[in-house]
């Protein structure tokens, strides 16, 4: 009962605070924190669902109406949550470390970018861009193309052991990026580093503004992905993945078809990224290879690890924390430092105006990812919201298997 009251109060209080201080980052963080509290509090399921739905469907768009930037942050969180959920299948459930995951995102993004913009005229002559309504078809095209890419990547590398697989997927991610950067000749597919623009946006009913529409679209996709994930986790396939993660040989002996299970994991994870890629390209109107670097892949990996490998709420929380850290905390820190600099504040006799101009905290996301990865691996490899089965297993680590000589 206390939890229920506290949960309602937390949401109400944080929303009021957002309404009073619409520009403060800290206050917006408390709003996000209150949702997390609602999720973990011991309250009846209907109340939890109701509060979350209220916060996500009504309050968040309202906040966004007054401050569009927050809605943008929420949309980004949703996009990355989808990516983290996809990677969670590959890394968390199936235990295949994929360091080039963002390549699938790129494949989805480029599939709509090319056909949804006048750019396709350069390849096929005329008749483009496709009508905006095709966007909804391309959600599925992006899904299929990304899944196919996943299978194509998976086929040759499936025989590799874990750490080799990681390096090869990294190489694959780089290959896709280099291709996107250079396929402006001999035939101009990607327009190289200049990127593709303007990318068409979908037609919307009732004249909803685009920022709200993309927020709801992303939210819808994330919810669908979560449902699919939950169903997969407890299905035949999900169990096969987990068995494979724990011990490939034993899984094979128990009749798990390794090749098929691995391909399914790759295809599933990739397809989520593909769908979000299509949404991303339409939302941004402009894409170029810069959005699909190794840094992004590691960012998504950091989200999965932080939340807890194999855990669905973990992936969502990880995506929220990392995105907010990047978009709000680091940027906020940069702005604050700049203000202090311009105001000529001195700390311990050192004038902050003398700080070097190259020092921009917003550019240090790699350091954040790095610290997250190392600290989590050493102190809490199961993550913030560990998957239940995984938690038990990491609490009692097995001794390393002894080598049996040839």
């Amino acid at each position: 009962m206390i939890h229920a009251v506290a949960a309602v109060a937390a949401v109400a209080l944080s929303v009021t605070m957002v309404a009073v201080f619409p520009r403060s980052i800290l206050v917006f963080l408390t709003f996000q924190g209150s949702m997390l509290f609602v999720y973990v509090a011991r309250i009846p399921a209907w109340l939890r669902a109701g509060l979350l739905a209220l916060a996500l469907l009504v309050l968040m768009p309202l906040i966004g109406y007054f401050n569009g930037y927050y809605l943008e942050v929420a949309t980004q969180v949703g996009i990355f949550a989808a990516l983290a959920l996809g990677l969670n299948i590959v890394v968390g459930l199936a235990g295949l470390l994929d360091l080039g995951y963002v390549a699938f995102f790129a494949v989805g993004a480029y599939s709509w970018a090319i056909f949804g913009s006048p750019h396709a005229n350069l390849i096929f002559g005329g008749g483009f861009p496709l009508a905006p309504g095709w966007f909804y078809v391309f959600l599925f095209v992006g899904l299929a193309v990304a899944a196919l890419t996943g299978v194509l990547l998976g086929l040759p590398v499936l025989r590799l052991r874990g750490d080799y697989l990681a390096i090869v997927t990294l190489g694959f991610g780089e290959v896709i990026r280099v291709l996107a950067n250079n396929l402006d000749k001999p035939v101009n597919f990607t327009n190289g580093p200049k990127g593709i623009t303007p990318i068409g946006r979908p037609p919307l009913p009732f004249g909803i503004p685009y920022s709200e529409a993309f927020y709801f679209l992303v939210l819808l996709i994330v919810v669908v992905i979560i449902v699919v994930n939950r169903r997969l986790e407890d299905s035949h396939i999900g169990r096969a993945w987990e068995a494979m993660r724990e011990d490939e040989l034993a899984a094979q002996a128990m009749g798990v078809p390794l090749v098929r299970a691995k391909l399914q994991a790759f295809a599933c994870g990739a397809s989520f990224a593909g769908v979000m890629g299509v949404v991303f390209s339409a939302k941004q109107i402009f894409i170029n290879p810069e959005s699909f670097t190794f840094l992004e892949s590691i960012g998504v990996l950091a989200m999965v690890i932080l939340g807890g490998m194999g855990s669905i709420p973990g992936a969502v929380v990880g995506a929220t924390v990392v995105t907010v850290l990047n978009l709000q905390v680091l940027k906020g820190f940069s702005l604050w430092l700049n203000e202090l600099k311009n105001a000529g504040v001195t700390v311990l006799g050192y004038s902050l105006a003398n700080l070097p101009t190259q020092l921009e905290p917003a550019k240090y996301e790699r350091m954040v990812f790095g610290i997250i990865l190392v600290v989590m691996m050493i102190f809490r490899p199961q993550g913030i919201f560990p998957a239940r089965r995984r938690q038990r297993e990491l609490a009692h680590p097995h001794p390393p298997p002894t080598e049996v000589g040839p």
Binding site: L99, D163, A166, I167, G171, L301, Y364, F369, V374, M377
Partner: protein, 323 residues
């Protein structure tokens, strides 16, 4: 097609390939030695390598601003800088192992690899942070010594600069030194014993932890030397420069047979040559459709092909379990 041109540039491309190959070989040693003893890909090795380059650059820059760079004899400066780079990178590698890898030695395979990726990212930004505060710039240009730019013209199409000769000589000396260390000394025997079987080695009275630290020290030192040579040869460095050469050096290590020291040297040379030829000839052979920008793809394709068709590499052995 212009066959005359293809033949005319051949010696120069060969030389560039050998240079690049030695660079890869020196870096690859760090990957392969660590893999030999721990069966673990030290993902942060690319940053340990570029750290050496930065230490070298800082020393050269301070010598320059003190006015000593022109006064001291250049071989002395060079040896000093390489030694400093080796020491710095070696110690960094040992520290990284102590802090981020040792606590995870009993964990499932992927855990230390993820930790290593974290270390790699962390080091990139720490170097950037330091240089940003210290010099207000994180792209450094290696200060040059006049002698280095001197070129010997061997034929009308082939000339070789002093800096290239320096790189080749230094790399050869270090490869030879490492070979002697591993094969002819007691420490080398201990390293090979630990690589073979940790439990048995420790029963024979070898301090396994100390040998592992030593392996990181030696591998890191080789990387640091490679870093300084990289700076001398290519002159532009930034904290993120190390990543791609590191990845390629790993490819070289796998190409030669990971865990195998002569293999790393061979793999480095082969990959360097392949890449140099791909970079110069691809554009000529395809009429400009695919240029040098595809050389990275080329290197990764080599990696994937070896892993599929010959996972034990050219010289093979040492990999326990199936790749």
């Amino acid at each position: 097609m212009d066959y005359q041109l293809l033949i005319a540039i051949f010696p120069q491309v060969l030389l560039d390939g050998v240079l690049l190959g030695f660079m890869y070989a020196l870096i690859a040693l760090g990957y392969t030695m660590v893999y030999g003893v721990l069966e673990f890909i030290n993902f942060a090795h690319s940053e340990i390598f570029i750290f050496g380059a930065f230490v070298g650059a800082e020393i050269l820059l301070s010598l320059q601003s003190a006015g000593w760079l022109a006064r001291l004899p250049w071989p002395v400066v060079l040896v000093l800088v390489i030694l400093a780079g080796m020491l710095a990178s070696g110690l960094l590698a040992v520290t990284v192992e102590r802090v981020a890898y040792r606590p995870l030695r009993a964990a499932p395979r992927l855990i230390p690899l993820i930790s290593a990726i974290g270390v790699s990212f962390f080091l990139q930004d720490i170097i950037r942070l330091f240089e940003s505060i210290w010099r207000n710039a994180f792209n450094l240009v290696y200060p040059t010594m006049e002698v280095m730019n001197h070129r010997f013209e061997l034929t009308s199409t082939l000339d070789v600069s002093v800096r290239s000769l320096v790189v080749i000589v230094a790399a050869l000396l270090m490869l030879w030194g490492l070979h002697a260390l591993v094969n002819r000394t007691k420490i080398g025997t201990a390293i090979r014993a630990v690589a073979e079987d940790q439990a048995a080695a420790s029963l024979m009275g070898i301090n396994v932890n100390r040998i592992i630290s030593l392996t990181f020290l030696i591998g890191g030192a080789m990387g640091g030397a490679a870093g300084v040579l990289f700076g001398v040869q290519y002159s532009l460095i930034n904290p993120y420069t190390g990543f791609i050469p590191g990845l390629k050096a790993f490819t070289a290590a796998v190409l030669g047979g990971i865990g195998n020291i002569p293999g790393a040297m061979l793999g480095g040379l082969v990959l360097g040559l392949l890449e140099a030829f791909a970079a110069s000839y691809m554009s000529l052979l395809t009429g400009g459709a695919f240029g040098a920008e595809y050389k990275d793809i080329f290197a990764f394709s080599v990696l994937i092909l070896i892993l599929i068709f010959r996972p034990k590499g050219l010289l093979g052995e040492v990999v326990r379990g199936r790749a």
